[in-house]
């Protein structure tokens, strides 16, 4: 390990922390422009059918209402909410601004634009819509039945694919184990609702302010749909109150942009909580069946899986999501043969799409619950069974053929088992009374960017200001996890100045260079390495400028602590600000540089997590009483924030395991419409999550850093479920483990899974 790092590895708050604690930060929902109108959506109350008639006259008669828009007076070109660059594969143009064919309760039918939010909402209730109902395909089974009514032209089987890699060895004498796991549809539950503000300009262009994870992708969707040249569409990222993948795709941005152009006024579209839940995007419900074969002592010989994903009413990113479910197991375990068939299916339910972990938490639940079942059959300890099969550093991923890099998952498991006192706690009796205690473990893997699938690259420029401070120009999208701070720390480390002397802004298509944005676990690993390299370039320029000024060879100079010093004569120092001031007066190159960095690898990040639970057999309630998360992070750039992100990720995973689900009833209506009936884990229910970092810096990220934010939540739910199964000697595998499910299991009853898959 490099131990001479000055700033990397320290702990820093998010860059805008002071404005956040004082309340002065203007989030998207706080943002306004003069003359701004407000829009309110009219959503379909039926799951499937056609709009046959819209009467907006009563709504438009309301004082303050500017206009009502629907399929009758808006473009009906299809768009893909998930597209990130023009001509992208796997983009499904199956959605329009407003639907005539409505495909789920919550589908956009119309929008009212009015002078106030209250007026828009009142008018939306006055828009009269008549529907011709079609039979609703509310489950995957219904959607795939021979007599199913097609939700889209090409049928309800949206996408299917199969991966078959390696060679199946002789399975004579092998132990076969099967399992079936289902994971629920859930709401991302970012605390700030979705919001967008758009304004057309008389020059023909427009500005869109949005709380998005990728402004360039928003631009490609908006510009092409509204037939505008890209250079006339300026998309600016605003401070946002969380995302978790839910603001990765472009759902309200095209609508709001259209409303602004159509009314020639600035328009704000701010959703309410119920709209966020049903009319944006959900983590898709999935089901996975696994059959493994292993030797009697637990060595995996064969792994076969079939997954089904409920896409809901539109494709969004679910086909890609479905593919990625097949790329998780072989990042974690060595197996001679791996086969995985996946499919994504349209149903008349809320749209599935990007969610933290992109298929990994879903697949980790299936895999890790299955591994515990194997361990039980073989009478092996779950840790021991996993250690027999885990990948080791520099293995090749059987599915992607990419090196896994310095994969330290087995070390995470060993160190975690010791720190958690696994062996002793696992051996402790669960108890026979009302309260039963158990411990569970699960491992998870995720990626580091999109290398291998996309031209994964980042671009940025960095300059020294006239006073020796620095300005980083990059398309950063801070969703709340400290991206801006991470970049400042990386640049600070290279340049030898405090991170406070580096300014870095967020993304704006008019002023910051092209970058995909914050998703795909790419930011620290790819964007961060770009920042490190551009800082190295600038440091080279800085040393060259100093060398020239001091008439010393550059190789005799070192840059640290805000000054360039002569090696061996450290009393001779020239402060950066003097280099900057003096160089400004000369005909010499600026102390600035630009950089395009193409990723060169895509190693795996890992997390191994240990949960202790106490199950109340009378109520079916589960309390998570202790939790340890071990993180293979390569190198923590911002230690405190890595730990904090892990703590939050575990909270999300506990909700996934125990509480959260967004089901629809027989009329296609969601059973939830707000936080009153959608339970987010709150402070009294959260254990004190301990985080143990494993740092080896063996890969190509800045200072050896790897991704954190997504992998952190990947194994959590599985660890909790495995702990409950340990406590109750059950084999529960349908998430979430609600009290009803637990009580039913204790009574030996079957309860069907929440999700339709």
């Amino acid at each position: 390990m490099t131990d001479d790092l000055r700033y990397v590895g320290g702990s820093y708050p998010v860059h805008d922390v002071t404005e956040k604690v004082t309340g002065e930060l203007v989030y998207g929902s706080d943002f306004s422009v003069p003359g701004m109108l407000h829009a309110k959506l009219v959503l379909s109350p039926i799951p499937h059918g056609y709009v046959t008639h819209i009467d907006a006259s009563r709504a438009e008669a309301l004082p303050g209402v500017v206009k009502v828009f629907s399929h009758e007076n808006a473009p009906m070109d299809g768009f893909s909410r998930a597209r990130i660059h023009p001509g992208q594969d796997m983009s499904f143009y199956d959605e329009t601004l407003f639907s005539r064919h409505v495909r789920f309760v919550g589908d956009r039918v119309a929008a009212v634009v009015a002078t106030s939010r209250e007026t828009a909402a009142a008018a939306a209730a006055l828009v009269e819509v008549e529907y011709e109902e079609l039979p609703a395909m509310l489950t995957v089974d219904a959607a795939l039945a021979p007599d199913a009514v097609p939700i889209h032209e090409d049928g309800n089987l949206l996408f299917e694919h199969e991966i078959d890699k390696g060679r199946r060895p002789d399975l004579e004498g092998a132990v076969l184990v099967s399992s079936a796991t289902s994971t629920p549809r859930i709401h991302h539950a970012a605390l700030e609702p979705h919001v967008c503000i758009a304004q057309g300009h008389s020059t023909g262009g427009m500005t869109v302010w949005t709380t998005s994870q990728g402004v360039y992708a928003a631009r490609t969707v908006i510009a092409e749909l509204l037939r505008l040249d890209y250079h006339r569409v300026r998309v600016i990222k605003l401070p946002m109150g969380g995302s978790f993948g839910g603001k990765t795709e472009y759902i309200i941005e095209p609508v709001c942009a259209f409303l602004a152009l159509a009314t020639r006024r600035p328009v704000k579209l701010l959703l309410d909580r119920e709209e966020c839940m049903i009319a944006t995007m959900v983590r898709p419900a999935t089901s996975t069946s696994i059959r493994t074969a292993c030797t009697p002592d637990g060595e995996l010989l064969d792994f076969e899986a079939v997954s089904t994903l409920d896409s809901g009413g539109f494709a969004a990113s679910t086909p890609d999501y479905s593919i990625h479910m097949c790329k998780k197991v072989t990042k974690l375990y060595r197996v001679p043969h791996y086969r995985h068939a996946g499919r994504a299916v349209y149903t008349n339910t809320p749209v599935g799409g990007a969610a933290r972990g992109w298929g990994a938490p879903e697949m980790a639940a299936a895999t890790e619950i299955h591994m515990d079942r194997m361990a039980a059959r073989l009478r092996l300890d779950p840790v021991e069974l996993r250690l027999k099969n885990m990948v080791e550093p520099h293995d090749i991923d059987l599915v992607t053929d990419l090196p896994l890099g310095d994969a330290r998952v087995s070390e995470c498991l060993r160190r975690g088992a010791l720190a958690f006192d696994w062996a002793a706690r696992r051996a402790r009796p669960a108890g026979r009374g009302r309260l039963r205690r158990g411990v569970g473990v699960a491992a998870g893997a995720h990626k580091n960017g999109m290398y291998g699938a996309f031209p994964e690259a980042s671009r940025m420029s960095l300059k020294m200001n006239e006073d020796g401070t620095f300005q980083l120009n990059a398309s950063l999208h801070d969703v709340g996890c400290g991206v801006v701070t991470t970049m400042k720390v990386i640049v600070a480390e290279v340049l030898g100045v405090s991170p406070d002397l580096i300014a870095a802004g967020e993304a704006d298509t008019a002023t910051t260079p092209f970058d995909y944005g914050t998703y795909g676990s790419r930011v620290t690993y790819v964007v961060g390495e770009c920042a490190r390299r551009v800082a190295e370039k600038v440091k080279g320029r800085l040393l060259a400028a100093a060398a020239d000024l001091l008439r010393e060879p550059a190789e005799h100079l070192v840059a640290a602590d805000g000054a360039v010093r002569v090696r061996g004569a450290t009393e001779r120092a020239i402060a950066y600000r003097d280099i900057a001031r003096l160089s400004e007066m000369r005909h010499v190159p600026s102390i600035a540089a630009s950089m395009t960095y193409y990723a060169v690898s895509n190693p795996a990040s890992y997390s191994v997590q240990f949960a202790e639970v106490e199950v109340d057999c009378a109520t079916g309630l589960v309390a998570v009483t202790d939790f340890l998360a071990v993180a293979d992070v390569g190198r923590a750039i911002n230690r405190g924030m890595v730990e904090a992100q892990y703590q939050g990720a575990v909270q999300m995973g506990i909700g996934y395991a125990l509480y959260e689900h967004l089901d629809v009833d027989e009329h296609g209506r969601a059973g939830v419409d707000g936080f009153k009936n959608y339970h987010i884990v709150n402070a009294p229910d959260m254990p004190d999550v301990k985080v143990l970092l494993v740092e080896h810096e063996g890969d190509d990220g800045p200072f050896g850093a790897k991704s954190v934010g997504e992998v952190a939540t990947v194994p959590t739910a599985a660890a909790v479920v495995n702990a409950v199964n340990h406590a109750l000697a059950t084999e529960l595998s349908d998430l979430p483990l609600t009290p009803e499910r637990i009580i039913a299991a204790l009574r030996g009853e079957e309860v069907p899974p929440c999700s339709s898959c």
């Binding site: 604690v21 004082t22 007066m585 904090a644 939050g648 402070a683």
Partner: protein, 223 residues
């Protein structure tokens, strides 16, 4: 409908709709957008403010109910630019990520500390039970509130530096400045002015060259 209410020590007279919520008046009429709206049904706590010493969800309180009352919002926590101890501890303990729940968390915690200056961890967790956070897992938030009540653990975060002090931290020694100035002056064919005076007004340059350029810069400063 006319309302008189006191917010963060200032008394306001506002004209509000009878159905206006306290949240609407704070955000839309008084421009106090630090108070956030996350659910509009009193479940998430992002809109928490303190009314006459009690934490309330301003999204489920009519503005008229706040008539004549003393209201404290997140904007009123800091005094004369000095952060409240809770705000400071939220920064130091890394209790803020996306920050959208932060104002409400701070106000619930403030109300707790106003009635109980030394709460137990369980008291803190219960006081924050109505404030949802999706980012942090609450660990750092609870630690920050404990620290604000004097029960410090180890604060994690390096605090932002003081503007100006940081930039002045590195100093050029006079001899080196003289060499650098000479390079520029010889190229320019004229003496430099201000750039060759140490900016911090620190120690008088010792080297001959820099004394000269320093003296010149003073004399030419008025041009």
């Amino acid at each position: 409908m006319q309302l008189v209410l006191t917010v963060n020590g200032t008394t306001y007279e506002v004209e509000a709709r009878p159905t206006a919520r306290l949240l609407d008046v704070l955000r839309d009429q008084l421009g106090l957008t630090g108070t956030k709206e996350g659910c509009a049904e009193g479940e998430c706590g992002a809109c928490t403010v303190i009314v006459d010493g009690r934490a309330v969800n301003s999204c489920v309180m009519l503005a008229v109910q706040a008539r004549g009352k003393e209201i404290l919002t997140v904007e009123g926590l800091a005094r004369d630019g000095e952060l409240d101890v809770l705000q400071r501890k939220f920064v130091e303990y890394g209790a803020v990520q996306c920050g959208f729940c932060t104002p409400g968390m701070l106000m619930s915690a403030k109300a707790l500390l106003m009635r109980d200056p030394t709460p137990s961890e369980q008291d803190i967790r219960i006081a924050l039970a109505g404030n949802l956070c999706r980012c942090t897992g609450y660990t750092a938030i609870v630690a920050a509130v404990k620290a604000a009540s004097g029960q410090e653990s180890t604060p994690q975060m390096a605090l932002p530096g003081v503007p100006g002090e940081l930039a002045a931290a590195a100093v050029t020694d006079p001899a080196t400045l003289a060499v650098a100035c000479e390079t520029v002056e010889s190229e320019a064919g004229r003496p430099l002015g201000a750039p060759c005076t140490p900016v911090d007004g620190g120690p008088t340059p010792a080297g001959e060259g820099s004394t000269t350029s320093g003296a010149r810069s003073v004399s030419e400063g008025g041009e």
